[in-house]
Symmetry: C2
Subunit: 452 residues, 2 copies
């Protein structure tokens, strides 16, 4: 590897300036769910790219605009960097120790809404680019940024945007928006995301609730209809009963099992952190638990609501009942296919009265752990973190990586400044400044080594 002393020295000397720039970005609210400051934030991000000599386009979608920026580099290689400028709502405000949109530096940490998810990633990557430009005068490879504004609201327009801009987004590799170290301070490389199909199931049996003394023996009850319908979806054996649900699932390979086996034990940590007495399916821990956690699809009831829910009793027969249900999907399941199968299942079991509302979905996607770009990103981390990244073939969460992997055909690597106490989506979201600097150093190496 080339010598990174000058770059590292620049990154360290100009760290305060970069944190100041990040603070300005965090101070600009950009809450997608509340449509707060979105255009202003897109414009600010665009200007930050322009300041580094990027050609910038603020591209309209049906929702928040996408900020696209490109700066050519010396080699023929292109790195596509995916980030987002939108943030989660800051509520509940009373639980913040400092105001969410007034970034506050305390004991080596910067606090503020979006400081970790995802504005810190944007600015630390720009910091890496500044260091390269300052020391070398040009980029070693072409860099394209795609910075969307709807990641926190299910990236509903991103798939269409990518389909319509395949040429613009052409690249050799993609760097994902998140990443970080785990509780052992080991940098982790997450190589796949499960898909998701989120639906609301709802039933209406009458125009109004009825006194239970009157209707209990003769009226249909929406809560019972919902319970019976849900019960047909999954049994106590945890087997999902929708016909064809498990079709096309790829079992974990020997390589996947090897990587999963190398990960640390989670059983005791999960039990103590979440107060769970035992796992389902007879699992107790070890690699079996970790593989089951991510390589199997789920049918999770996320919420139930019907009738009277206050203290004490109210004798009412509910006219309406609904459930929020998410299915986590593994390769090669597809959310549209699962939604169709769910409809058929309900109809076949006599539940045509149960309505399905589509609340969003992502297909699952994985990148080969032995892809050269992944190996590169993992290896160059050693120079920064004193160890290579640990490869995780699949994680349980979901995200919009499918079009990057399958439409653009890119290997997608994760790396970032996250750590277990970063509190993304929660009050007191924060980053550690040391990890911010490490991520910039890592990114400088990824950019240079990709160019070859």
């Amino acid at each position: 590897m080339p010598n990174y002393d000058k770059i590292d020295s620049y990154l360290e000397k100009n760290l305060d300036q970069s944190i100041a720039e990040l603070s300005r970005l965090v101070a600009q609210p950009s809450v997608g769910a509340q449509n707060l400051g979105m255009k202003e934030c897109a414009s600010l991000v665009g200007n930050m790219l322009r300041a580094r000599g990027f050609d910038v386009r603020i591209m309209e979608t049906k929702g928040a605009p996408v900020v696209f920026g490109e700066r050519k580099g010396k080699s023929g290689k292109t790195l596509l960097i995916y980030n987002h400028y939108d943030v989660q709502p800051p509520e509940p405000l009373e639980l913040w120790d400092s105001p969410p949109f007034e970034p506050s530096l305390r004991e080596g940490k910067l606090y503020g809404r979006g400081v970790s998810d995802d504005k810190g990633h944007i600015v630390s990557r720009l910091h890496a680019i500044d260091a390269i430009l300052e020391t070398e005068g040009e980029l070693p490879c072409t860099i394209k940024f795609i910075i969307e504004g709807e990641e926190e609201t299910a990236s509903v327009n991103l798939f269409e945007f990518i389909k319509q801009n395949r040429d613009l987004l052409k690249a050799d590799a993609c760097m994902w928006e998140f990443g970080g170290v785990d509780h052992r301070e080991v940098p982790m490389q997450y190589l796949g995301l499960r898909g998701i199909c989120y639906v609301e199931l709802s039933v209406e049996t009458a125009s109004t609730d009825v006194h239970s003394g009157l209707g209990g023996s003769i009226f249909p009850n929406a809560a019972w209809r919902l319970v019976w319908a849900l019960n047909t979806l999954k049994g106590e054996d945890e087997r999902i009963r929708i016909k064809g649900f498990y079709d096309g699932i790829r079992q974990p390979s020997a390589r996947d099992r090897e990587l999963m086996a190398a990960l640390p034990e989670v059983a005791e940590e999960y039990k103590s952190r979440y107060g769970v007495r035992q796992f389902i399916k007879g699992l107790s821990g070890g690699v079996d638990l970790r593989i089951e956690e991510v390589f199997t699809p789920t049918c999770t009831i996320c919420g139930l609501t019907s009738g009277y829910q206050g203290p004490g009793s109210k004798t009412v027969l509910p006219a309406r009942a609904s459930a929020k249900v998410d299915f986590r999907l593994v390769p090669d399941q597809d959310p549209d296919d699962i939604r169709r199968k769910l409809r058929s299942h309900l109809d076949e079991h006599g539940f045509s009265d149960v309505q399905i509302t589509d609340l969003g979905g992502d297909p699952p996607a994985r990148t080969d752990p032995d892809d050269p770009f992944i190996q590169l990103v993992a290896k160059v981390a050693e120079d920064v973190y004193e160890m290579p990244m640990q490869l995780v073939p699949l994680v349980g969460g979901s995200g919009p990586s499918h079009p990057f992997v399958h439409d653009l055909g890119l290997p997608v690597a994760t790396a970032g400044l996250g750590y277990p106490d970063t509190k993304a989506h929660a009050p007191n979201e924060n980053i550690r400044i040391d990890l911010y600097l490490k991520h910039a150093r890592h990114m400088a190496r990824v950019i240079k080594e990709l160019a070859g």
Copy 2:
């Protein structure tokens, strides 16, 4: 029958004065659920009885006091009158056309919280007693009032009170706290109430909710546990699956069927009022629907709550889930027995983790339609309503009549000033002044005819 001209004339001439007294009673809030004005109202009711020469005792219970009053009469007969001075909370206040505790007379109706349920019944009965005392100087039979303060909060201390005061409450017959005419203006005699066993079923599977991407494949889910547990209680065939649930149920007799057959059709009215497209169990209407409505026990889910219930999606695996469930019981089912059987059922089906919280219960109770007192009350109504009362062997609702029927051994008759639009428990609760007067006239006849 003797001549009632003098009594009727008194009742009519002094009607305004009686309504003024009722208004003073309604103006005294007595909201049991909010512990508002209970002692003041008990004292006011006691004074109203004393003003008629009753010996009054304000008797303490573990909750609101019971007002007991007795005045001896000429004959050896005793009528026990059961009423309550507590009222439902007045909320939502914004839906009242006049303030709930400022009684308002408009177009022949008096509006206010408790005017129908149950203060109007108390004062119209006192009005009848005034008329008899004024015209005859004494009561023809002994009258005992038991006026409790916890009827709207499940009469939790009444059973014990009755057990401990059997001698004090000794009587020949009991007049219940409610009654009235139906939509045809026919006075109805409700001869039985179903019992009730109200429970909350709750499950906790973790100390905190978990991200569904993390826990979906390996953590127990409280909402699923609840759905599966509920599903074992009742199938889509509406048959309740708790072992022994149907033990000891008395089928409706030929006399019950005859009385039920004489009642008006309800199917179309129910469908249009409640927006129900069809009834369960293949019922379409007629006497079969009416018999099923009241002579079968129920297992009704009154409410469901778990996890995320807001708009859109939240990917959460809930740690807690609960359901409110009421069982309506028919003679001779018993709520304590049903609760025990429910616990056994859950344990036997692997749901020992589902907690049962007892939210109250009443056993069912019925009075023989051919009891001489019932026949008397029904017959003397003809002189007031121009038709005898129609006998209804059992209704779907519940109430604390069991200890009156089974501990005190009394026939319990219903009669009152209610009508379909009386809005008990709702904003704009009201009574019709014409029905108030009719009930007083009817009560005067019951008191005199019981004395013989």
